[in-house]
Every structure is written in C-alpha cells, then in structure tokens.
C-alpha cells in the first residue's frame, strides 16, 4: 500500500511543545502540523487510537496538548479599542472573565485567523490563535494596533495549554483545582490553583463541541509533564485518555467548527463562511467592515454547507463536489468519517443553488462520483444537561 495523507507537509525543522517527550514516551504517532510536531493519535495498546479518543471525549473525557496554539495579550487603556478595531465580534460585550469566538479580518473581509477573545481584566485581553498562524497573526495585530494606547505581547511560548474535554471534564478538573468550576459558565474563565500551581488561567472553552476546559500553565518541561500526568491519573476513574490531532479534527468537524486553511482563509469572506452571527456590523468601524458591507449587498458566489455521504465512500479535503450531471459545483473543505455519528461527513463550498437542505450532489472520489446529501449543521450538538 502507499499512504496519501491529507495534510502532510515538508518542513525543515518542526517546533516541539514542552510535552513532546511525554507524547513520544506514550507511543504517540507524531506528525507535522502548522510547523509543529504533534501527536495525531496514541496507541491502541493503551486504549487509544482516533476512534477511541473521539468517543472518550463524547462520552467521558479526553486530554489534549494544544500548546501549539498562540497567545497574544493586549493590555492598557486602549486595549478594548484595539481589539474592537482588529476583530469582527463585539468585545465591548465581554464582562471581565468572559470569552467570545471572533476573527481577525483583512481589509477585504477575508480571514487573517479565527480567534477566541478572553477578557482577563479591566483593560486586559488575551487572544488565542491558531498554531500555523502564530507569527502572521502577531505581526498583524502589532502592526494594526500601533495607534492605540496598549501593550501587545506575544505570550505563545510562555504557556503549555492543555484541553480537558467531555461531559466528565468538569468532574476531572475539579479534583485538581480549588476554583469552583460549577460557577464558571461555558465561555467564561477564572483563575485558581491547579495541581499546586497558583493563579492558573482556566477557561471553559474548547474545540470539540463538548463541555470542557483549557488551562494555561508554565511551559517548562518538568511542570508540563507533571501536570499532564496528574490529569491523566485523576482522570482514570472517568476513562480519560490522551487525545491527538486526529480526534481533535473529527470532533470539531462533527460540531462544524471551522479550521483555518479549510473553511476560513484569506480568500474566503465572513458571509461565505456563514459566520454572520459572530460579525457585529453595528459595531464602530473595524478592519474589513467596509468590504463586508459591500459584499452583503451582492449575491453570494458560494456558501458553506454540510454533506452526508449517502453512497459508499469517504469524502476528504479538496475532493470536487459535482452536480448529478457531473459538473463541478464546489469542493470539500474538510471531510472524514465521523466516529460518533457513524457516518461519513464533509463541509464544502458550493454554488448557492445547491445549498438547500436535502439537495443531492456527488463527491468525486478517485475519479468516481459518489452520492451525498446536503444536511443541517452542526452535524452533532451536545445533549443539554437535564
């Protein structure tokens, strides 16, 4: 056999997180991602593998090293104004200790990156950004906020970021912290002692479409390894397993969470991506607003939809989408088996005429058209707690 991986990259030197040795010791398969060497999955021998890891997050709890993500802090009297200028959501709605999904846009209304904006304090904001766009984003933020009275710091290397995700995440993390997690609503944050470390940022955020937390701890190897192992130990009673990027991708796909370079990029605008509700046009001017205003008045050239394979086959990234006559009408941005839903699903950009729910299309898989249907998204929504 030969293997064609959807996201293989040839990179001269890959960066490593502080937990790299730990992942290798656990027998993880390591792969390049966004300039980093990351675990894609852990061994079957320890109860892992993409499918088991995915199911653990949906039914119990899974632990992810997401230290490859980046962190930019804006602090000072002009911090809010700066954040408002460079992002599309309305950060003035954030109370201290609250977070929101947002995006940094170019002047033409396309994406620099998506981001979670955290309000840490009165004039203190933390942007958490993607791994592959760390440098680009920091330069962009620094260059576009010079006119504001605030300090812009690149803190990415200061933190090991660990995500604890799943219905049991709160029970697991509560064992390790004095912070009252039941008082922290989804997309809110707090600080507390975690595994003996004081004043640790704990955010109830994640990229799995489940409840969960992300903690930001010091990035030295010894501390990072100790905390990682303590989390796994404390998680044993909940069936916690380490989870890699493979499960991270299948989880976010089921939840229709965008991935930069796939559903959003510098050639796609906010309306095409369907992220209207995170874009507050009523806000005072922000970068990209004028172009989006203009684009809103024109019909969409393409739109993001969800597909479920009805024929036998797996739609994968970049596969063409065809109408029933075989004409190209779009392309798959992200496609994969969905381990929890037990279906083969995909997100795709198509001509708006084909975006109606229930429409039949074909996905071209190795030269053959395989039937698929346009379905509602997100494909998966976590059950509401009783």
């Amino acid at each position: 056999m030969s293997t064609v991986e959807a996201e293989a990259e040839v990179v001269p030197t890959l960066r490593k997180t502080a937990l790299n040795v730990v992942h290798r010791q656990m027998g993880a398969k390591m792969v390049p991602f966004g300039g980093w060497e990351m675990p894609v999955e852990y061994p079957a021998a320890i109860g892992c593998g993409i499918i088991n890891e995915h199911m653990a997050v949906r039914t119990g709890v899974g632990i992810f090293d997401v230290s490859h993500m980046g962190d930019i802090r804006l602090a000072g009297p002009g911090a809010l104004a700066a954040v408002q200028h460079i992002s599309m959501n309305d950060a003035s709605r954030l109370a201290i200790g609250q977070a929101q999904y947002s995006a940094l846009l170019y002047a033409n209304g396309t994406f620099v990156d998506d981001v979670i904006v955290h309000r840490l304090g009165e004039d203190d904001y933390l942007l958490v950004i993607n791994a592959g766009t760390r440098e680009k984003d920091f330069n962009w933020v620094r260059d576009n906020t010079r006119q504001f009275d605030c300090k812009v710091e690149h803190l990415s290397d200061d933190f090991t970021q660990i995500a604890i995700q799943g219905p049991k995440a709160v029970d697991l993390l509560q064992k390790l912290t004095d912070a009252n997690l039941s008082a922290v609503k989804f997309y809110w944050l707090t600080r507390g002692t975690v595994c003996g470390l004081k004043n640790i940022l704990i955010a109830r955020t994640g990229y799995t479409a489940e409840d969960g937390f992300e903690i930001y701890i010091p990035s030295d190897e010894a501390t990072s390894a100790r905390v990682w192992n303590e989390i796994l130990e404390a998680g044993k009673e909940f069936g916690a397993v380490p989870c890699g990027l493979g499960a991270r991708n299948t989880l976010r796909l089921e939840g229709k969470l965008p991935l930069y370079g796939h559903e959003i990029s510098d050639t796609i605008n906010v309306w095409e991506a369907g992220l209207d509700r995170f874009c507050k046009m009523e806000k005072a001017d922000f970068i990209g607003r004028a172009a989006l205003e203009k684009a809103k008045a024109e019909p969409l050239k393409r739109t993001l939809i969800g597909l479920e394979m009805t024929g036998r086959g797996i739609a994968r990234d970049d596969y063409p989408v065809l109408d029933e006559a075989g004409n190209k009408i779009g392309h798959v941005t992200s496609g994969s088996p969905a381990p929890f839903l037990k279906k083969n699903i995909a997100l795709a950009y198509v001509l708006p005429a084909f975006a109606n729910l229930g429409s039949s299309v074909n996905v071209e898989i190795r030269g053959q058209g395989v039937a698929a249907q346009v379905v509602p998204t997100p494909f998966y929504k976590r059950p509401k707690k009783a």
Binding site: M1, T3, V40, G246
Partner: protein, 130 residues
C-alpha cells in the same frame, strides 16, 4: 511484536499472499494495520476483475488516510471478503486472519520474487527505525 506467518509471502508495500496450488488469498500485514490506525473502509475489486502484479487493485482507508493496495501477483478475483464491507475494523484486530480477496493465479512463479516472512520481518524492522 506479532510474528509473520511463514506460509505467507510478502510485498514491500505490506500485502501478504498465501498460495494454495493455483489459487491465492491476499491481505494486508499487521505492520500495515498498525501504521494505518483504525480502518474504516475497504474498496475491493469485484469478482471477475483481473489484477496485475505491482498494480493497484483497491484501497484501504483509515480515519485520516487512503492507502492504495498493490497486487502481490497477477490473477482473477474469485471471492471478496464481504465481512470487511461492514466490519473493516477486523483487519486491525487480526490482519493476517482477515483476507481481502481470493484469486486464481495467472503465473504462480511471480511469488518467487516476493519476500519470505523472515525477510519481511527484517524489512519492517528497518522501516520502523527511520
């Protein structure tokens, strides 16, 4: 580490073939299933298809990747393992016991150029150390 059956022959692309007279059974090796991870889809040729030694004859997919299957020998497909259409994960549990296709051999001599179990074991040990 799993041992490789000595009555199989192996390709460098990680397929195994077991000959019985003028017929043969084909599958993928334990090394292959371990590299792939959870197998979710098998694309096998139909009964009656002619396959050619060294050419692709189908594919096996894991969650993340598509892997072509290369024919260890030339012949005509006589049977396809229907179980794998609904339970492809069986290959992960028992790669050497999960056959993909059975064929009539066009030229049994083709098997002489394939790797023995010992040679294949050495080959994957070297691959694994890269």
């Amino acid at each position: 580490m799993a041992s490789y059956p000595t009555d199989f022959k192996y390709t460098k692309e990680h397929e195994w073939i077991k000959q019985s007279g003028n017929a043969a059974t084909i599958g993928i090796t334990n090394y292959a299933q371990e590299s792939l991870g959870d197998i979710v889809f098998v694309d096998a040729p139909k009964v009656g298809t002619e396959i050619k030694a060294g050419a692709t004859f189908g594919s096996v997919e894991s969650v993340k990747a598509v892997s072509d299957l290369f024919a260890p020998a030339s012949g005509t497909v006589t049977e396809v393992n229907a179980e794998l259409a609904t339970a492809p994960e069986r290959i992960n549990k028992d790669a050497h016991g999960s056959w993909l296709v059975k064929i009539t051999l066009k030229d049994p001599n083709e098997l002489n150029s394939l790797l023995s179990a010992a040679d294949y074991e050495k080959y994957v040990a070297e691959e694994g150390s890269h």
